[in-house]
């Protein structure tokens, strides 16, 4: 077992401080700088940055104090700095305002709530004795999103690997663009397509799985031929988040230092071994964060889920099956937005919205934490999907 020595890979010299090791290992090539921001050459920026690697590298390591300015332009400076600070402060103020406001609307409703908000599955807000709990909403939201992830992430990784290392270049670029374009399809269309065209072909799959594994409550099939079930919604959600996860993963895989890849190949590794040894470890944290962003999107998806999912009635006992209907936070709020006729009722939905907000935030934070700790690659993928897509698209162009 061996690897190239500590010299910087030719195409990514700025990627970190190469440290020669007694026992060099591939991942040691890319130790992230603990201090100072690690440069990340994503997408468009990569095009420029690669032109001037030494400069960028220097920029990355330059963490010393900035040059203080003379008296020239003092007023302008103060004004502009004030503007910039003001904008930063405005962001803080907006978020604080949103949070406080929503809490203020939710708290009276929560105080009146006659049942456990977290553990009840009843939803009867408003009236004399409002009773509402988010247990069922939480279950459906989380389960549908997780199934979507389980389906989408392996496929997205496969597609990303295909477009970066398997497909001929001439094919890769148009395919990448086509997939990116799907991120632009409005979610309402995914919903319509899902229920009208896609759900019917899932029918046999549902029957098959529930036939074989129906003794498990999770796969139990309720009577009737309803296709508007959690599973259908999950598959459509998977298709919806596929472009996002693919775009970010692709970009990260493409950034694997050529030295890693060629090192592996030079050792006689097959293409798959090269990917397993160099590309996947390098892109792991990026894929994780891409998945988390996809998960965040799945959790908050409104209209598509609303169109697809059928809602269980309040009389039947709760059904944990993925082949039964359900409601997510977002679909519940959207479905009932027309009937927010009293503050208590509105407050109940806003409380549900707050939980969704917290769950989404936790997922995003988890993604960030994982990425911040990312060892291999030292790369921080974009924090939000659109920017990620931007970079990915630009990357494809460049």
């Amino acid at each position: 077992m061996s690897s190239p020595d500590g010299t910087a890979p030719p195409d990514r010299p700025a990627d970190g401080t190469p440290a020669p090791q007694a026992e060099p290992q591939i991942e040691d090539l890319v130790v992230g700088e603990p201090a100072g921001p690690a440069p990340h050459f994503e997408g468009l920026a990569a095009a420029h940055a690669d032109d001037q690697p030494t400069q960028a590298a220097a920029a990355a390591t330059a963490t010393g104090p900035k040059l203080e300015l003379g008296p020239v332009g003092h007023l302008g400076d103060r004004l502009f700095a004030g503007l910039a600070r003001g904008s930063g402060g405005l962001v803080v103020a907006i978020v604080a305002f949103v949070g406080v406001f929503l809490l203020a609307l939710a708290i009276p409703a929560l105080a009146d709530n006659q049942s456990s908000f977290l553990f009840s599955r009843v939803w009867e807000p408003g009236g004399e004795e409002p009773r509402f709990g988010i247990a069922a909403l939480f279950y459906t939201t989380v389960v549908s999103s997780i199934i979507a992830m389980v389906i989408a992430v392996p496929i997205a990784v496969g597609v990303a690997l295909f477009t970066t290392y398997y497909a001929p270049k001439r094919l890769a670029a148009p395919v990448a663009h086509a997939i990116d374009l799907l991120a632009a399809v409005p979610s309402i269309i995914y919903g319509l397509w899902g229920i009208l065209f896609f759900a019917p072909i899932l029918r046999p799959v549902i029957d098959g799985v529930s036939g074989a594994l129906g003794w498990l409550p999770v796969f139990e099939k309720p009577t009737g031929d309803n296709v508007g079930v959690v599973f259908t919604a999950s598959v459509v959600l998977a298709i919806m988040i596929l472009p996002v996860v693919t775009a970010i993963s692709r970009e990260i895989f493409a950034q694997t230092p050529i030295a890693h890849r060629e090192g592996a190949l030079a050792l006689g590794a097959t293409r798959w071994e090269m990917i397993r040894i160099s590309v996947l470890p390098y892109g792991r944290s990026g894929v994780v964060s891409a998945s988390m962003l996809g998960l965040g999107r799945a959790l908050g998806e409104t209209v598509a889920v609303l169109i697809i999912l059928s809602v269980p009635n309040g009389n039947d006992p709760w059904n944990s099956s993925i082949f039964a209907g359900g409601e997510t936070f977002a679909s519940k709020i959207a479905n009932n937005a027309a009937e927010f006729d009293s503050p208590e009722k509105t407050g109940a939905y806003i409380a549900a919205g707050l939980v969704l907000f917290v769950v989404t935030f936790l997922v995003n934070s988890a993604a960030r934490l994982i990425v911040a700790r990312s060892g291999p690659g030292g790369k921080r993928p974009r924090r939000n999907r659109s920017a990620g897509g931007a970079a990915a698209k630009e990357g494809a162009v460049a």
């Binding site: 009236g127 229920i195 009208l196 759900a199 019917p200 009577t223 009737g224 031929d225 309803n226 296709v227 508007g228 609303l306 169109i307 059928s310 809602v311 269980p312 009635n313 309040g314 009389n315 039947d316 209907g325 409601e327 479905n335 009932n336 937005a337 027309a338 009937e339 927010f340 006729d341 009293s342 208590e344």
Partner: protein, 375 residues
């Protein structure tokens, strides 16, 4: 300044995109009717100018859209927007002075829930003048089903209540078989679909089930469904659900059942002969209805348990809710002009082909008188 440059480029880019895409200047389509001659913006005495915004019941969406289109052939300078977001939303937006009139599947409630009653809040919005409930569109509710080979299905109140309550679970249950002699019914379970959003259709339908279900319906009539089944969003959702699911049944506005080519059950109202849903049979049921409002308030109470021969009992009356006084003068003129057309024989005649039932003449004249009293 680069920030400016950035903004400018962005703005110009998007604007030029818009201009490119829309090189022709936008306009409204020519009215399709022949009633308005070229270039004449008919500004007769009953044709004011301006914009009316309304919101509410989705059950009357198709009706009011048709009437707006017809009205615009007559009064081209009036813009009427109707946002079919639901009765509750309509009343809420009306009371919040967001719209000029509301469409609702039920009259304003006079009993107070928390704080003021709907009627009291509405009166406040009308500068302390009463808000009128004007019955305008009669929408029959169909019990729509999808069973292969079943062209005709007869149900009565009790059986319907049992199906929707979940006590009758299969198509070949004796209760259904008794009403449909000589028909082969499948042994498949019945898939019931209901409206998952709160809706006036649900409220009216459950009123029917409670009134003529003979105790089989255990819930109270409400906008929120309390029976069995799987919920879908809005009328379109339940209609689509039944269309795509074999052996299913739902309740939905008649037009959705017709448009989606679903089977519509005949109702045995107790008179002995099953009644098919037609504009005529629905109109007959309305004749049995009573106006319960006083003066110009025309809130109605329907007799869901009517046993009159040939009357289709499941109907829905949707109201327009408007201020009797208190709107600005130009809005008052617009409201009056539009609603008068809606309540005219002309306006009502266009509804039949959309699978609504026209207002019976007796009620229509009362509605018209109430509209004329708006000032």
């Amino acid at each position: 300044m680069s920030v400016n440059r950035l903004l400018r480029v962005g703005t110009v880019a998007v604007a030029s995109l818009g201009v490119l895409a829309l090189s022709a200047c936008g306009s409204d389509p020519e009215p399709s009717g022949s009633s308005s001659p070229e270039g004449s913006s008919s500004t007769g005495a009953d044709c004011p100018q301006g914009t009316l915004n309304a919101e509410g019941s989705s059950a009357q969406k198709n009706a009011i859209e048709e009437v707006i289109a017809k009205y615009n052939e007559k009064c081209a300078d009036v813009t009427v927007n109707y946002n079919p977001t639901g009765s509750g939303a309509g009343i809420k937006q009306f009371n919040a002075a967001q719209v000029d009139f509301a469409g609702s599947d039920s009259a304003l409630k006079t009993e107070a829930a928390d704080g003021d009653s709907e009627a009291a809040t509405a009166a406040k919005r009308c500068e302390n003048n009463a808000a009128l409930n004007l019955p305008m569109v009669i929408g029959p509710v169909a019990i729509a089903y999808n069973v292969d080979g079943l062209d005709k299905l007869v149900l009565d109140g009790a059986t319907a209540a049992k199906i929707f309550q979940g006590t009758v679970k299969t198509w070949n249950a004796p209760e259904i078989a008794k009403l449909n002699p000589g028909v082969t019914l499948p042994s498949a379970p019945i898939s019931v679909f209901f409206r998952s959003d709160e809706s006036g259709t649900t409220e009216n339908f459950t009123k029917y089930l409670a009134a003529s279900g003979g105790g089989a319906w255990t819930g109270k009539p409400a906008k929120k469904w309390t029976g069995t089944g799987a919920g879908k969003e809005k009328s379109a959702g339940v209609a689509e659900g039944v269309k795509s699911t074999k052996n299913s049944i739902t309740y939905v506005e008649w037009s959705y059942a017709v448009d989606n080519k679903l089977g519509v059950a005949q109702i045995d109202n107790g008179s002995g002969t099953p009644v098919e849903l037609t504009a005529e049979s629905a109109g007959k049921a309305l004749a049995a209805a009573k106006v319960t409002g006083t003066g110009n308030d025309l809130s109605m109470s329907l007799d869901y348990a009517t046993k009159e021969a040939g009357a289709y009992p499941i109907i829905l009356v949707t109201y327009e809710i408007a201020c009797s006084k208190g709107l600005p003068a130009e809005k008052t003129a617009l409201v009056k002009s539009f609603l008068s057309y809606f309540a005219s024989t002309d306006g009502q005649a266009s509804l039949t082909e959309l699978n609504y039932a026209p207002l019976p003449d007796e009620i229509r004249t009362k509605v018209d008188a109430a509209i004329q009293s708006i000032s």
